[in-house]
């Protein structure tokens, strides 16, 4: 039920956007996020974007995630 999947905004018309989910395109509602932008990624739940992440933020978040992992005393040097 609380499943939400990421997709990329292709077009914006009013409070709707056409979003690409790995090749499948779907119209969704973008009224729940601030400043939606073409090219950005959104996390979509039941046809509504509930969060937006741009490429940079997504990469940063991955870096953060790696840091969290390292903080837990995991040695990731040979994997990154």
């Amino acid at each position: 039920m609380c499943l939400a999947i990421p997709g990329k905004i292709l077009e914006i018309t009013g409070n709707q956007a056409l979003v690409d989910f790995d090749g499948i395109q779907q119209k969704i509602i973008i009224a729940l996020i601030q400043n939606p932008e073409i090219g950005k990624y959104v996390v979509v739940h039941a046809g509504y974007a509930i969060e937006q992440i741009n490429e940079e933020e997504a990469m940063e978040a991955i870096e953060q995630w790696k840091e969290i992992a390292e903080d837990q005393d995991l040695d990731l040097t040979d994997m990154l």
Partner: protein, 364 residues
């Protein structure tokens, strides 16, 4: 580009490293640990990838009331069924909801009897049905946790047609965590908190909770390595006796959550003491539509009262399963009378119900 660097998120080497660290920390802790998650999608990840079998046996990962369909009281479904019997009413709801047995029937059984019950993908579809059918009353049977609440709120706020209304059976997660902490026999050592509920509410509601109860909490993503890393983060807190809320899923969850969605929620709804199926009434555990929007509140519009309802059918143990006191294979009906094709209790119906997940992923 992928949103997540799946190479590392899904790396087996990484899994091995986390497990190694978990084993090390468990040797130091030298006691049993009970961790609860409250999300059907987490149970899915845990069961599908066999994560329990990777962990040392002293760690028990139990499944809490994380299935919105399962915690929806039979009385609310009975109400939808009573209303659905009327010729002029179309009941709309999520696909997961319609097969859930209520006191006597499920919505799909009502549909088989000729009622107009329709599955929608989101509340906007229900509003569209209302616009297309001006001579009918369209009721959206709204279930779900904070992830779903702003969707319903947005439609209510956006001036839907007057033949649209909502049975509001939305529930709130932090209040349920609080209740679980008060159950003595459970003694939970840490919580894995749901990533997409947190996307909406942010970190703060959990922080208050981990501060008050000295129990660690990790907001967690849905890859197997997310869940394992979260377990490690919990163990480390337990070892260091430092109990906080940490955000493992920072690639999606912002500390403040989704402010737009939060504003919509507080504009349209107020929190109320609310019954959870099989668990009982939880203070601030649910939402009702504010008076300002009462014309969209199906409860007020139709004034239907359900005098008596049955949440847990005879022989079913969903109430114990949803509070982590029992595992599905300890229920006598599991796999025998109760199967996904013939569900006895709510936990066997939804894809997120613990019984149906166990049915799918754990062999006999």
């Amino acid at each position: 580009m992928e949103i997540t660097d799946l190479n590392i998120l899904r790396s087996k080497d990484f899994t091995d490293k986390i497990i190694k660290s978990i084993n090390k920390i468990m040797r130091e802790l030298d006691k049993s640990i009970k961790i609860m998650h409250v999300c059907g999608t987490h149970e899915h990840t845990i069961s599908k990838y066999g994560l329990r079998s990777l962990l040392p046996k002293e760690i028990e990962v139990i499944s809490g009331p994380g299935c919105p369909v399962c915690v929806c009281p039979a009385a609310d479904i009975d109400k939808a069924i009573e209303l659905g019997r009327r010729e002029d009413i179309i009941i709309t709801t999520f696909g997961d909801m319609i097969r859930v047995p209520a006191s006597n029937l499920s919505l799909s059984e009502l549909k088989a009897q000729g009622a107009d019950v329709r599955i929608v993908y989101g509340p906007n579809d229900a509003v569209k049905i209302a616009k297309d059918n001006p001579n009918k009353e369209i009721i959206f049977f709204a279930i779900g946790f904070e992830t779903t609440v702003p969707l319903t709120g947005y439609e209510i706020k956006s001036n839907p047609p007057s033949n649209f209304s909502v049975i509001c059976a939305h529930k709130l997660i932090p209040a349920a965590l609080e209740l679980l902490m008060s159950i003595d026999q459970l003694s939970i050592d840490g919580f894995i908190s749901p990533g997409h509920v947190s996307t909406i509410i942010g970190i703060k509601p959990y922080k208050l909770f981990s501060d008050a109860y000295h129990v660690p909490n990790v907001i967690t993503g849905f890859e197997p390595n997310d869940v394992l890393l979260a377990i490690l983060m919990l163990l480390k807190q337990i070892k260091n006796k430092k109990f906080e809320t940490l955000n493992e899923y920072s690639r999606v969850v912002k500390p403040e959550g989704n402010i737009v969605a939060q504003k919509i929620i507080s504009e349209v709804f107020e929190s109320v003491s609310s019954p959870w199926r099989g668990i009982g009434r939880i203070l601030d555990g649910g939402l009702m539509i504010k008076d300002k929007y009462e014309k969209y509140d199906a409860d007020k519009k139709f004034d239907i009262k359900i005098e008596k309802s049955t949440d847990i059918p005879p022989g079913c143990s969903c109430h114990l399963i949803m509070t982590g006191k029992l595992s599905p294979n300890e229920c006598k009906l599991f796999r025998k009378t109760c199967t996904p094709l013939n569900p006895v209790g709510p936990c066997m119906v939804s894809m997120e119900g613990t019984c149906s997940i166990y049915y799918k992923y754990y062999s006999e």
